[in-house]
Symmetry: D2
Subunit: 460 residues, 4 copies
């Protein structure tokens, strides 16, 4: 199978030119002006942009959580991702406390293998660190799971303490892996949750008020301090608050490097969503919660300063009926929201078109940097000879409206219902196959493959 894409404006993190791309099999074989090749399929990309396929490094598909499961599994989730130009995801395998990490990896493979449309890698969340799980780290890295997440919140479920955290960092560093963190102070949150419950404050708004900015700032600072001591490569995921970024900025003064991820919801929404009535606020119950407009401004600035490195979604959708488990008690609302499909179009429309980021930066934060940080580069994250032909052919001018009626998430609401967006992923290629065309999925379930990852190429 070969594909020829004609006359697209090809934009990577470090190039911007008009050319043809010739794909043979799964990878790009030639790029050039007016290529004289015969292809099984030719796509006219004139007037279109061509980007590397998006990488969403933060998804929770088929996640058992808070007594239910996230409503997108690997089939529906990676399909929705492809509609939005995201060709690879990295999903979080969650260790069950008392069990080896390997067991969870196997479980996740069962969820994903044969079901995914797009490619997928795995992070692993270490929820029970002990000599046995310590011994697994080296093997997991060799296996291609090179990033280890710790939770500083969700005590009794996911949270590890600082002794475990430094232990994990110490071991991961030895094998050149990376430690990422859900950085909020679970103890503070638990105090506030109990306080609000004791006061009969049970609406979704109190989810927000139980996780004030300081809970994120403190934990981010603590993670940074401890990581600096161990020397491990480190990443703060889903940064929501400007104050947390200031901890990163302050730490640069001791020559430390910290990777940072943020998400579209933190760049584009603000906490006024929690004031919506009739339980609608539950749609945005996620952790950390969405913050203020000033935080949006700081996170956009952070992207341009190079201190926020990429944008994931933390996609973790639940139907409203699932959300309603917490109708009388916000602590029972499953945390999470859909988003995997809209990351790229939102960042283009709200970022590039509104002059907040350049086109090259857009590619960097939707694809290239995640590929580099997570050891998928240069196979992914770029448009280059031999690289996987994961590509987006993008109409920069097509306007459309985000709605639960039309999105592909397996979820009955959208976090961005009614948002007008300019720019659309028209055709998406997935390892050389046309995966999305004419608003339809063109590949089969199970086309997606596990991506064995290597060491980060951004870490020195």
């Amino acid at each position: 199978m070969s594909v020829l894409i004609k006359n697209g404006r090809i934009v990577t993190a470090a190039a911007d030119y008009i050319a043809d791309i010739f794909i043979e099999g799964e990878t790009i074989s030639t790029i050039g002006k007016d290529l004289k090749v015969s292809a099984d399929k030719t796509i006219d990309a004139g007037g279109k942009l061509v980007f590397p396929g998006g990488i969403d490094p933060h998804t929770h598909l088929d996640l058992p959580f808070m007594g239910t499961y996230s409503s997108d599994n690997f089939e529906t989730g990676t399909r929705a991702a492809l509609f939005g130009g995201t060709t690879s995801v990295i999903d979080f395998v969650i260790q069950s406390q008392g069990k080896p990490m390997q067991a969870a990896v196997e479980e996740w493979h069962k969820k994903a293998d044969g079901n995914a449309f797009g490619d997928y890698g795995f992070h692993i969340a270490v929820t029970d660190f002990n000599p046995d799980s310590c011994a697994e780290i080296k093997d997991l890295i060799e296996y291609g799971i090179t990033s280890f997440k710790v939770f500083m919140a969700y005590k009794g479920a996911l949270m590890i303490d600082d002794e475990q955290m430094i232990g994990i960092m110490n071991e991961v560093r030895k094998h050149n892996g990376l430690v990422s963190v859900h950085a909020t102070n679970g103890d503070m949150i638990d105090f506030l949750v109990k306080k609000h419950r004791a006061e009969g404050k049970l609406e979704p708004l109190y989810h927000y008020l139980s996780q004030p900015e300081i809970t994120e700032i403190e934990a981010s600072g603590r993670f940074i301090d401890i990581a600096n001591y161990t020397g491990v490569a480190c990443l703060i995921v889903h940064m929501a608050s400007g104050g947390a970024l200031d901890k990163v900025r302050e730490a640069t003064k001791r020559n430390q490097r910290i990777f940072v991820e943020t998400c579209p919801q933190y760049l584009l929404l603000d906490a006024s969503v929690y004031e919506k009535e009739n339980f609608e606020a539950a749609k945005w119950v996620m952790s950390p919660p969405i913050r203020e407009k000033k935080d949006q401004a700081t996170l956009w600035a952070g992207l341009n300063q190079g201190l926020v490195n990429f944008v994931g979604t933390d996609h973790c959708p639940f139907f409203m009926k699932q959300k309603r488990m917490g109708e009388k008690d916000f602590t029972k609302i499953p945390n999470g929201a859909p988003g995997i499909e809209h990351r790229i179009e939102l960042l283009y429309s709200e970022g590039v078109r509104k002059g907040r980021i350049s086109l090259n930066k857009f590619v960097e934060i939707t694809s290239t940097n995640a590929a580099k940080v997570f050891g998928m580069f240069p196979r992914k994250g770029c448009i280059a000879i031999g690289a996987d032909a994961d590509l987006i052919i993008f109409d920069p001018d097509e306007k459309h409206t985000i709605s639960a009626k039309t999105h592909h998430h397996n979820c009955d609401y959208s976090s961005y219902e009614g948002w007008q967006v300019t720019g659309k992923c028209k055709t998406v290629l997935m390892r050389g196959q046309v995966a999305i065309e004419n608003d339809e999925i063109k590949i089969d379930k199970g086309y997606g493959q596990f991506v064995k990852r290597g060491p980060s190429s951004l870490v020195i």
Copy 2:
């Protein structure tokens, strides 16, 4: 004329792959596996790295300064640059006080046009800001000179005061230009110079001791504060001190973005050079002076943090006989040193091979980021279809020794005499022409062209 480069490992800021590059005329037309093309010339790049041609955004060629001229002119300077893989330079046109900037631009064209081997752009240093020069800014930007330098030191010669500085910023911002700065506090330096002279301290060491770190820190902070107020795109050139970078880091907290350049001498040398006897220390008399090992560490960290954006040379060579004008008084030693030829090989050998920076980062800081910041991208700074075929074919393993005996600078000493370097620019192409091959220059004087620059593509 066409050239085919076979089987090189092509490394850009955002890709890393093995392929053939086919060049037709001045630009790249095709990149691919096993290209079946007929070329006028074929180069086997197997086992070699292929980088975008280097861009040195900080040169002083044929500069009238301190009663003499820098010893490399556009002919010798750009030739030396090419030997070291630098295919484009941006030289500083210096306005003469009392004269229009346009006059200086014309003068610099006379120096460069018809003489340069490599391509060249111009910055302009505004030394006399008044309503007349203010009116020139818009025209200069349209002409392709989009970066305006101010000197906060050299009072009576180059220095402008803060009122002029804010005036320049205000005007440049209106037209989407960029203001760069020599950030040292000239008044403090003048005080210390006079103090040292009064005390009979006239050796080159006192050049260093007259420009303590605080003179750079203070001026950097002032420039940043004023730039933030005006909102202009801004750049600190030749940053030498870690304390100055801390001013940048602190300013990130108010969402400000400041571009930063450093130079190989500040990354690799330390102030012990000023203790050398018999006037040898004069070789490194430059401004700002070389600082401490801790500053080196901070600047390397800054590159990886994304807060130091690229590396220029501040190439400004003088023969020892010129330096000896200050044999009895350090203030008469012409400030500057040679370096244009060795930037790329030094950064590869000391940076990449020693694990301080990644290969992609190496390309970013030697070429891509300068192209982006200075409006030469995507014509320069990348390896892409339609881009200028400015390329380095680099042997990553060849060892050689830097010496004045062998360098191509028009200068009788080297700042790095005797340094062992691993990695060598074997073949250099300049807009499609083989410029360097077998240690010989293959193009003619005058091949280099003026590069009309546009607005910065990194500035949002």
Copy 3:
């Protein structure tokens, strides 16, 4: 002459107790319970507070400025001060450019000697630093003028450049004096003034808009950086902006100590005064201008953090007819406002009673710290045996209203017209003499004496 003050609650920076104070001649001789002494005069202070006489370290009496003179001279100014509990002032002698400092000192003595009611010391503003004035510094310090002020604004009139500033610091440090600063960037202000004038923006509001916070932040940071290099004891006067205090806070990290003064107007008023119509805004035309409510909060916090050390007034009154010199051009409005009389009552009413500062802190910032920093301690600034009997007997509950109709400033408006104040200076003693009683002045013009000051006792 002897005075016995019975049963007052005596409050100093480091004590708080009820006792009698016995004064013989000019100083306190005994403090105790139920003193059995015969006194020429006995004052019942039961239910009253007794404070050390206030020290206002920042006044401009009889100041030639902007083509006129401040409207309070040493007679009217120190009389108003006494009504408000301030028994000592330190006035700024201003060197005339081209003349020795000694000449200005003599001139100021002519203004003050024989005219002042209260005691007075002198700072000197160095406006023309050269080898001659450098040579005067040692003598002035020996003479009792130990604090040297520099202006970073008012170019052409008062401003010195950084070379002069470092020169002054260097010399003052040798003799253990102190350098204080008017820290605003005059060059930036001049730019904005010219810009506003060019745009026909001539109302008093543009005075404020010509001195944005950054002009104060930048200059404060520069002064701090340069002072740190020289090691001189240093003080920033009339700090108005929170951002400037942040420069002090940041500098504490390098173990630097910087003294800071603020003024009641910056603690209590905000920039909304500049929106008043019909030229009324001119009343608050001063430099730096009054800033925002957030700055008030920061300055109050700074007092409690110990980083803002004391409160002066920058008293520099002008009649409205003088202000009207600038009716058509804000740059011609004499800068300054009255305030010397209300500092203590305002800080008590707005500070102590509103819970912003403790009683001990109130004494510290109105009297003790200024005495310590400026070398008047322990003669002034405390209530102690042998110390000058400068005392305030204060009714903490008496309510009154500030008004130009009743104040003792020689000025036809008040910055605080109509403000309700709780707490009143009922009786004020000045070196053992009852100076104020029953709202009348009881001592004669000329009672005030020059205070020869020594080295700062807060500087280590």
Copy 4:
């Protein structure tokens, strides 16, 4: 009983004068020149300094800890304190996990009442925070125990988690109390301890290496962040590291106020003590451990910046035979060292005489600020009418040598063995009684009384 002290130079935090002090009963009744009174005892203090009695706010007397008891009890400890001019201590009552705080208070009263020579107050360390202990807080504050300590280290023994910490802060704030902290990250330390033990690194040096600076920096930052959220008055005790002070300095930028205590050992000693051989290093095994010379410099600067508020000792002595419990395992060495007797003389000799602090500052940090922060002011901490006649008559010139042979600690070694000290507490008065004279104790065991404390007078 009455005492007349003649002609001493009386120094407080805010005064410095020569006078007589007349004491009737337990308090000062008169201060004046040449007092004509008849006294039961007259002391000639000519040529001597008179200071307020020292307050040591950090002692551990008769402390059950690590399987043994600290070797000074209230009898021997307060006696040693008096020899060194410290007339009041505040000792830490330690709640036993599972028991009410009240039980511990009663236990401590049994230790102290009838045994102490000097006065004593109590802090309480909350080691088991739950609804029951929460309910005790209000009562304890009313009872006069107004400061609540939390340990962020010693897991399983003293450490509380962040949820408990925020709970304590929240409750203490409601009742205007103060929360103090042992700020080191116990989890990190536990990790390092286990690591060192696993590696067979069991010497005292590894105590030091198990508590690197970051463990203190991180915990200090966390405590500050959480305290800021709750708004509680807060104190970091025994600060040892400059990095921890930088967290305080950074927090000043958000207008936060944090009280800080340091100790003589952190101001005067450095970590080279841990390199001493033959188990001698065990003498300085304490937590946090002693750090570097740079930290000393920072802490001295902090005192002068007003950001370090007072100096306690953390007196917690053990005999070498007790220390030897850890001869084969540093984790079994009881943590702590003697120091209560030498705080004042060391700070005078090393602080005042070496020009690091002023005399007034010396009094402030040894007495006044602790009295203010801990609600003992103005009864303690000053020399004033009606205040407790706790006084030191101090010979500023007498030289002596610190040694275990001569000290009054119940401990067979001194942390400062052989140190030459200039300045000696000659006579010490304790509530009007001569307590120390001619190197002898003159009062009886049991003279010391419990001091009921009130709210902090430094907290606004």
